[in-house]
Structure formats: C-alpha cells, structure tokens
C-alpha cells in the first residue's frame, strides 16, 4: 500500500511538473484594412522593446487572410510595425506593446495625401525640392513625437513640374513647408528660411487636418527665399570613449511649438553652425548617445533668440545623464496561498518600466517636451530582474510599471535606507531625485501575485448626464494604507463611461468619480502623488461612500459606479 501511494504521489508530482507550461514564444494575429478586408501581403516588423543589448528584430509577411505568426520569441515585450504601402497603423495600435502568447488584431487606416506645386520666388517650378510635412498633433489633439509622419518618412520631393505628392500620411494635423533644399547634397546647408503653406512664415502657416483617406490638393507654396539667420557655437564635454562615428547631435526646436527646425553635428573642432533660421524663439540642445546608451550625455536646453542678426558664441556643455538601477523582486507566495493561475509563470523580462519626470526642473528636455508621452522609452529587466533606467536628466522621478498578464501587482518600491534610518525609503511615496550624472542603485520593485482587476461603467444620476471628462479614483479604504501611493489609482473614463483597472492589490477600496477639467491631458500627474490631495480624495470618497472589496485573483466586470 505504501509503495503504491509513493508511486502515485510521484506520478502526481510528475504530472504537476508537466502541467507547468513552458513560456510562450509566439505572437500571432491578423492585419485588417479599414474596410475590414484582410491586408494580405502586408509586411510586419516586430522589434523588442526596452532592451539595450540583444535587441531583436524579425519580419514576417501576412498571408491571404491577413494572418501572421511570429515564433521563437524570447520572453519580453515587443512592438509591431506594419508596412502596407498606402496604409498606416492607427495611433492606438502603433503604441501598443505585445508579449508572447498574445493574439493581436491590427487595423490599418488609409494614409492621407497632400499634393501641390512649389514655385520659386520668380514663379518658376522648383525642381527636386524637399517638401516637409510636419505633423503637429494627432486627431485627438495630442502632441506627437517627431518623425511619425508617413510610413515613408517625410521624404517627398517635387518633380520637373514642381509638383509633389505626399502619400501614406498618418492622420493628424500638419503644416507643410519647403526649405529650398533641392536635393543636391553637395550644395550644403540652405541659407534661406523655409516657407510654409500658403506661402508664409511659420507663424502664419495654415494647419491641414488629414483624416484617413483624405486627399488635399492644390497645397501650393511659392518659396519666398527669405534670408535666414545663422546660429553658431561650440559643444564642450564631448567624451571620446568608444565613440567612433558617433558625433554629438544638436537640435534646434521652435520654442513655442517644439517642432524641430534644424539639426547638425559639431565638426572635429567641436564647433557647429546652423543656417536658414528665421527670426524667433528657439531651444537648442545637444546629445551624445553612447553605443548601447551607456555613457550618454546631454546638455540642458539653451534658449536662443534670433532677432535680425546671426547668433554666435553659444556654448553647450554635455553632461553625463543620470541613471537608476535596481532589481525586480518577486515576492514568494505564502504557504497555503492559492496562486491565481498555477500554469502562468511570470517572465520578468516582460515587464516594462518607465520613468516619469515630476518636471520640477524647468531647464530640462523633459520639461520642454514633457507632454509627449511616447518620447520616454521604456526599459525591460533582464532575466535576473535587473534593470537600469538611463538617460535621465537632473530632476525628480516616479517609476511607472507595465506588467504582463493579469495576476501580478506592485507591492512596493524601495530604495536602500538613508543615513541613520532603519527602514528602506518608500520610492513610490516620494519621487526619486537625481543630480546631474548621478548613478543611483538599489531600487527594488517587489511584485506579488494575486492581483485583482476591476472594470465597469459610471452611470449618471437619474435624469442627469455625465460630464465630458470624468475621472474614476480608487482609494485604499484601510487607514493604514493611506500613504501607500501604489494603492491609489485613477483613470479617465472612455466615451461610453467605461473604465478599467488592472494589476490591483487585493484589499478594500473606496471609489470616487470626479469630473476633471478639459485642459487636463490623459497622462497627467496622479492626484495621489501629493499627500494633501490624498487626504482630499479620501474625504470625498468617504462622503460618496461607494466601497468595494477585491479578493486576490478576483476579476470584477460590469461594476457600476454612480456619479
């Protein structure tokens, strides 16, 4: 009998070992055109996100049903780019991150077209002139990262009749400019200021709204050939280690709109010059990104005013960027605690971490470009859970996490104890401050299993309406957790009043729906970051008295929250 039990338990154990799934290695799905038709033959490129070394890039073609399958993927996060000539990915899809095991549907929208004729100041056609389509905002009004214009980039030139045709454009709001460069590389920098549609300077440029499939014709420009000014200076602090063919880059941004206006590299004497700059206010900065982004350095942005004369003698000093290193720690399950899904295994490489600046330092690039969320590139931990967030300017930071699956939540974020303090510093409650070039270590992000999730809808009072912008807040009900910032969550509702929270720590929560002003962006700073705001939230939530308890691994759907 004993022998039988032993054998049986051995078999059982063996069975359980077999049941534990191997990590997933496939991402598959479908690519559809805007009319629902399959994008057969579309070309997909998948790139690993958040890795500094061993970046992977794979490509695959869709079959006749628009289906694709990418196999052999190591654990991690991936982004997918689709190239189907004339079509572009819609914004929300383009920004998404995928993990092995997921099935994906990608919708393509028809690219827009802008076409017209460019003539020179004498009315003659300007041949082989580069026409620049600058995308300012997406159709939702959000500022966008530079460079996302068309699947072809922004390289459109006029033909022998002076006619250009820009196609495959991402939907959004554009200005169209021509800088007089006629594609003859040997001619060097253009001295003249660009002319924008409809033949004006930048401040009077007309914005074009390009929707999917739109065609704007007769977007003609008569190139004025206004004299541009020049800006010159030096870049100091360049470091030579391991930097072949890797000169620092300088970028000049329009101070008001943050559009890039010119860029260059300093010469071997560390001197630079930018030509063709119209009068106006600008921000100039330099960066040198090391191979694999170690040893990267950047300068603070320098405000430059151009008023009727060249500006010389500028000095930009490259300073090493700061970094935050640490480890993701997985809390071991307490004995007897049921795992949500015994089959699921967390691959720590699938986590993405993003730094979010508190924008306390107005003289940083972050402060200049701050509301362009996608400008911040995420970092993934390695298989040991170790990570380093790099290229940080001197400022204060919070760390955002993007966790895979449904079962994990962030229990705590800590830094080593400071000075005589006995306990570790709570790195979620107060932001992490960094000095220039500081290499902070020891950040520990602890994840625990048993996350809950909550989704539902906000309903208005009987006979009433929902305000246009509404935020749903989750506040920990336990008074002991009143300063546990990680337990506070907030999100903006969708147009239909729905909301969703994932990766929640189990426990008791108070819920609150609050209207937020129209000027707040979607990615605004959570109210819970401030202790006075936390107290306010608590008071309002206690008054509203909508409480909810979430058990480990519980996924609540269709929860109704009254406004």
């Amino acid at each position: 009998m004993k022998a039988f039990i032993t054998v049986f338990s051995l078999l059982l154990l063996g069975g359980i070992a077999l049941a534990q799934a191997k990590p997933e290695t496939t991402i598959s799905g479908k690519v559809l055109l805007d009319d629902g038709q399959p994008a057969s033959g579309a070309h997909l490129e998948i790139n690993s996100v958040g890795l500094r070394q061993n970046r992977r890039s794979e490509s695959v073609e869709c079959d006749e049903t628009g289906g694709f399958k990418l196999t052999g993927l190591a654990p991690g996060s991936y982004s997918i780019e689709v190239a189907a000539p004339g079509y572009v990915t819609d914004e929300a899809t383009a920004r998404r991150v995928y993990r092995p095991g997921e099935t994906v549907t990608i919708h393509l929208v028809k690219g827009g077209v802008v076409t017209g004729k460019i003539t020179d100041s004498a009315g003659e056609p300007l041949v082989n002139a580069k026409v620049k389509l600058q995308r300012l905002r997406d159709l939702n009004g959000n500022r966008v990262r530079n460079g996302d214009t068309s699947f072809l980039g922004d390289d459109f030139h006029t033909d022998d009749r002076g006619i250009y045709r820009a196609f495959g454009l991402l939907p959004g709001v554009y200005v169209v400019g021509v800088d007089g460069e006629t594609g003859e590389r040997w001619l060097g920098s253009e001295n003249e200021a660009p002319t924008y549609y409809p033949s004006t300077t930048r401040d009077a440029a007309m914005e074009l709204t390009v929707r999917p499939g739109d065609e704007h014709s007769s977007i003609d420009i008569r190139f004025r050939g206004d004299a541009g000014r020049a800006i010159s200076g030096t870049v100091t602090g360049t470091f030579e280690s391991s930097q072949p063919f890797n000169r620092p880059g300088l970028t000049l941004l329009n101070a008001a709109t943050k559009e890039p206006v010119a860029s260059s590299s300093p010469n071997q004497n560390n001197a630079f010059v930018l030509f063709g700059i119209p009068d106006g206010e600008y921000e100039l900065f330099a960066r040198q990104i090391g191979r694999r982004e170690e040893n990267s350095a950047g300068s603070l942005p320098l405000r430059v005013s151009v008023k009727g004369a060249d500006v010389t003698g500028l000095s930009l000093r490259l300073m090493p960027y700061a970094s935050i290193s640490g480890r993701v720690v997985i809390e071991s399950a307490k004995p007897g605690e049921a795992k949500c899904d015994p089959q699921a295994k967390l691959s720590v490489e699938e986590i993405l971490l993003r730094h979010k600046s508190e924008l306390r330092n107005p003289r940083t690039l972050n402060a200049l470009l701050g509301d362009i969320d996608e400008a911040i590139r995420p970092t993934a931990p390695d298989e040991k859970g170790e990570f380093t967030l790099r290229q940080l300017e001197p400022d204060a930071y919070r760390i955002e996490t993007d966790l895979p699956g449904e079962n994990w939540f962030v229990r705590s974020m800590t830094l080593p104890a400071v000075g005589a303090a006995k306990n570790k510093t709570d790195a979620a409650r107060s932001p992490i401050t960094l000095k220039a070039g500081e290499k902070l270590t020891g950040l520990e992000i602890t994840l625990a299993e048993g996350a809950a999730s909550l989704s539902g809808r906000v309903t208005p009072k009987p006979g009433g309406n929902l305000p246009s912008r509404l935020r749903v807040h989750l506040i920990p009900a336990e008074t002991t957790a009143s300063d546990d910032v990680l337990r506070y969550r907030e999100t903006v509702i969708e147009k239909n009043g729905s909301f969703e929270f994932k990766h929640l720590a189990p426990g008791k929560y108070l819920m609150l729906a609050r209207s937020s002003s129209d000027t707040e962006s979607n990615s605004q700073r959570p109210a819970a970051f401030d202790s006075t705001e936390r107290t306010k939230l608590r008071k309002e939530a206690e008054a509203a008295n909508q409480q909810l308890e979430l058990l480990p691994c519980q996924h609540v759907k269709d929860h109704v929250l009254r406004f």
Binding site: G168, E190, S241
Partner: protein
C-alpha cells in the same frame, strides 16, 4: 567707519548698482575671422535649346580646397557668419552675375536635374568648378542646356490595383556590335523612381535615346519582392523589352505596366550550434547570399538575414529560388566568439528547414595602435574615432577567395587597444576607416615587432595579442601644377590627382581634384616617397570618352614640409608605361 573702508564700500555699492556691460563683441571661439577680400565675381550665360533662358536659378557653393581639415566657420566684418552658398538669377538675356565673392574654389550649378547639357550624347547637368584667385572676375561660365525627356505611367497588379511605393527602373537600350539590343544603366541618371499611392511614377531629366522601363524583381523596399521583374510592355525577358524612344523635352505618357506574376518566395529555417558540443549559439546573426553557377542565366538576386534566438533557431524569409551560402557574424558594433564555415543550402520549390550551421569558437586578434612620432593628447583621442575592419580567409581553400569565413568590425578604445573575437583560422587582413579624417594614416601593421606583409596567420582558436597598428600624423603638403603639353585644358574636365605612399603594405593614398587652372593640393601626408598619378577623361579616336591615367611622377615629401611639383601631360594621349 574709517574713510578708506567707506570709500571701498561706496565703490562696492556702485559696482553692484551698475550692471557690468556685456563685453563688447568678444570673438566667439568657434569662428575664424574672414579676412578674405571680396573682389571676385563669376558670370555667364544660360541657354535652353540655344535660346537665352531668363529667370533661371544659378547656385554657387564655396568648395573647400583643403578637404582633410574641418571647414572653418568664418565670421565676416559685420559680425555675421559667412554663408558659403549663394544664388543668382539670369536676366532677360539669360545672363547672370554674382559679385563680392572671396577667392577660392566654387561649384556652380544652373537650373535643375530636369535639364541636361546640350552635347552630342547629352550628359547630365553637372555643376562646373571655378577656382578664383584674388581679384579675379571669371566670365563665360556658361551653361548650354536642353530639357530632359520624361516618361510617366502607372503600375498595377493583376487585379488592376495600383502598386504603391514601388521602384520603377529606367535602362538605356544599346544595340551591341552583335546587332542585339541589351540594357545598360546610365550612370548618374535618376534611373529609378517610386510609384505614389495611385501607382503613378514619373522619371524626368532623361537624355535623348531609347529606353526600357521595368518594375518588379528586387525592389529593395520593405520586402517588396512580390512581383517578378517585368519589362514594358509586358515581358519578363529583357531582350523582348520594348525600346521607348525619348527626344529632348518630350513627355511620354501611358507607359503602364501590369505586374501579374506574383513571385513566390520561400523561407529557410535552421539552427546554429557549436560544432563540438552541439549547444545552441544564441543571438548570433546569420546572413545568406545567393550564389550562382558558372554561366548561369539566373539574374534573380537573393539575400536573407536573421538572428538566432535563445535556442539558436533562426528563420530567413523572402528568399528566391537558388543556392545560398550563409555565414555568421556579430551585429553592428557587437562581438561574438564564434565563426562558421560557409554553410550552403538550396531553395527549390518549397520552404527549407533543418539547416544546421556549425559554429566554432574563433581565435582573437588584439593589440595596440600608436601614433608614430606624436604623443599629444589631442592626436591620441583621434584614435578612438577609428574603426577597424578585419576579415579572415581560410588558408587552404584558394578557389573560394570570395568567401571569407569571418568579418569583423570594432573600434579602437580610448587607451589605444583593440580586440577582435570569434576570428576564423586563416589569413586575417586588417583595414581601418578613419571616418573621413585624413590627418592620421595607417602606415604599418606589426606583429611581434616585425611588419606584416599582407595578413596575419591565425591558427584555430589562437589568441594573438602582439599586433601593433602604426599610424602617422601627416603634415606634409604637395602643391602642384599640371601642364598640358598639347592643347590647353578646358573648364569642365574632371582631373584628379592621386598620391600613393611607396614602400608600405597598408595602401596609404590621397587624392584630390585638380582645378580648372591645373592646380592641386594634397595635404596631411606622412613623410615618405610618393608616386603621383594624374587621371583624367580622354576622348578616344572613336569619340568615346574614358577616364585614363595621364601622367605618373615620383616625389619625396619630408616630414612636415610643403613640396611643389609640375606635372607635364598630354590631354589627348594617356600615359604609356615604360616597358
């Protein structure tokens, strides 16, 4: 308060009260004062089809004569930064003039690529070089242009849908001596254009002649390998391509192509494993290139690349039929310990799987780079901007000279050391790339203290550590004048001068343009014996024009010296080597 201290405190208060005025016009450190006189001018006439062309844009660029040193950023007397590009427009008689230029070398271009020069077999509208001495006014810098032809049309697929962002190629149809027509790419032309969202393409600036239009085949854009190469009007065979006659200024429309045949491409999958242990080699890159049999009629290209995953598995897509040879290597600026003998596989009519690439641990080649005769820090930092390229060729397989077993690239570290890993056994050849900085020349490679001839011999798994790359910081200058012994030289002829350092195995050479007055300068030369070679375009008796050697001469350049030389040559007769 005592009187002196009161005075001092008063002075101090006054200083605090008055803001210190900005130091007037301190010269910015990045600028050099432009003291060049502005008394030169360039003028000429532009004609189109023999008629004076009004309102044509003429552009001028100040071209550096000293191509090795960074261009100075000059500040003119009024405090502004010198612009090195200028523009002028032709008047009603087609005349243009630009004055107040500094002396120097200029490149002058008129109109655009929509035009061509009006010569017998119209050349591209190339810019002219004009070298001005102080006070010189150059007239008759004329441009006789004709408008180029245009071919335009639409490319669609079998269902009549436009083929978007697809390259359409233009080729010259030449009738060979055998009476057969064949296609030739015309150098310098815009010989390919991309279709737009309507499938429409437009190629302009075409010299008069007969042309063939094709699309499909290797398209280079985002895996656009989908269609077989098709020639207008509708044939895969280039010999059947219809010759489209183009006259100057003519626009030929409706040259449409239907790309019917979808080309099938295939996948190849396999694994990279260590040949001894069978363990996978993760993350290494694989490149496979199609190889052709002798006398094969197959013109289809083929190339695939991929990266091994953690299990050493890789997959290549978009491959055409044919035989492929694969090699492994590290990614750009990454290192690997492995190399592999070229592995081949064949793609017939289906996907291929189970390819096994056996990799072995390679040897290493490491050492230091030093600059002979120079110890200053500024010059030393230039070393870290230098890239080393190396490749290893197996010693035994002589007939496979085109198939090296390992390729490498690495940089020289700030302390002057370098390291190549994963080197295949055989003969290792090293080259350097200084990124356009000619001030440093690699004059010698030593191993174990002795200069190497061509390459370094590496045994399997060997670690060679005693390599030295010897650089010289050259400061010698050759200033010369070429002298035509028959007819005078004319503007527009492109002559180049080359100087090759003798007695070294690393191939140190310099070159530069010869200006239209026959003058040239070569700088940053390390000391030594040089052989100068003058190359120029010669018109052969049958009317063809070809680039040939016009003169050779030896010259000695002592360290840091400037030497002058005169080179006689006959513009009508190429150089004859003495037997």
């Amino acid at each position: 308060m005592r009187p002196v201290s009161r005075l001092l405190s008063l002075v101090f208060l006054v200083l605090l009260a008055c803001p210190i005025p900005a130091l007037a016009q301190t010269r910015s450190t990045e600028l050099t004062r432009d003291i060049r006189p502005r008394n030169c001018s360039i003028s000429g006439r532009v004609t189109i089809n023999g008629q004076p062309a009004a309102n044509v844009q003429v552009q001028f660029l100040e071209f550096p004569t000293e191509s090795n040193a960074p261009q100075p950023i000059r500040q003119t007397v009024d405090g502004s930064i010198n612009r090195n590009t200028h523009k002028a427009r032709t008047d009603g008689e087609g005349r243009y003039q630009i004055s107040n230029l500094p002396p120097g070398r200029f490149v002058v271009a008129a109109a655009s690529k929509a035009f061509l020069t009006a010569t017998a077999n119209s050349q591209n509208n190339e810019p002219k070089m004009v070298t001005l001495d102080a006070g010189e006014s150059r007239d008759n810098v004329d441009f006789a242009l004709v408008r180029g032809g245009v071919i335009t049309g639409q490319i669609t697929d079998a269902e009549g849908r436009p083929v978007i962002a697809h390259h359409v190629r233009l080729a010259h149809v030449i009738v060979g001596p055998d009476g057969q027509s064949h296609l030739q790419n015309r150098g310098g032309l815009v010989n390919s254009q991309m279709t737009d969202d309507r499938g429409v393409y437009r190629i302009y600036g075409i010299p008069a002649g007969n042309y063939a239009i094709s699309a499909g085949g290797e398209n280079g854009y985002f895996g656009g390998n989908k269609y077989s190469q098709t020639f207008y009007p509708d044939t895969p065979d280039e010999k059947q391509a219809k010759a489209i006659p183009v006259k100057s200024g003519e626009e030929i429309t409706g040259i449409n192509l239907r790309l019917g045949v979808k080309r099938k491409t295939y996948e190849a999958a396999g694994r990279v494993i260590e040949s001894d242990s069978g363990k996978p080699v993760p993350d290494i890159r694989i490149s496979c290139q199609k190889i052709y049999e002798e006398g094969s009629e197959d013109h289809e290209g083929g190339y695939g690349e991929g990266q091994a995953d953690q299990q050493g598995n890789f997959r290549l897509t978009g491959l055409n039929r044919g035989k492929y040879s694969c090699r492994v290597h590290a990614g750009w600026m990454e290192a690997t310990d492995f190399y592999a003998e070229p592995t081949t596989f064949q793609v017939r009519d289906e996907d291929v799987s189970g390819i096994e690439i056996k990799a072995s641990r390679g040897g290493t080649v490491s050492g230091v780079s030093i600059i002979e005769g120079s110890n200053d820090a500024a010059t030393k930092t230039k070393l870290s901007r230098i890239m080393i390229y190396a490749y290893s060729v197996p010693e035994e397989r002589q007939e496979d000279r085109n198939q090296p077993s390992s390729h490498h690239q690495t940089n020289i570290k700030p302390d002057g050391t370098f390291l190549l890993t994963g080197v295949a056994p055989g003969k290792v050849t090293l080259h350097v790339n200084t990124g356009g900085d000619r001030s440093l020349s690699l004059i010698r490679i030593e191993q174990g203290g002795a200069p190497i001839e061509e390459s370094i011999k590496l045994a399997k798994g060997e670690k060679i550590t005693d390599v030295r790359l010897i650089f010289a910081a050259g400061t010698g200058v050759i200033r010369g004048q070429v002298q035509a012994t028959s007819r005078p030289q004319t503007i527009g002829e492109t002559y180049r001068i080359q100087a090759r350092l003798q007695g070294n195995k690393t191939g140190v050479w310099f070159n530069n343009l010869v200006d239209e007055k026959g003058r040239f300068e070569l700088s940053s030369l390390p000391a030594g014996e040089y052989e100068l070679q003058l190359n120029g375009v010669v018109q052969l008796p049958n009317g063809d024009r070809r680039m040939m050697v016009l003169a050779k001469q030896k010259i000695s350049v002592p360290a840091g010296s400037t030497v002058t030389v005169t080179i006689p040559y006959d513009p009508n007769r190429p150089f004859q080597e003495e037997r």
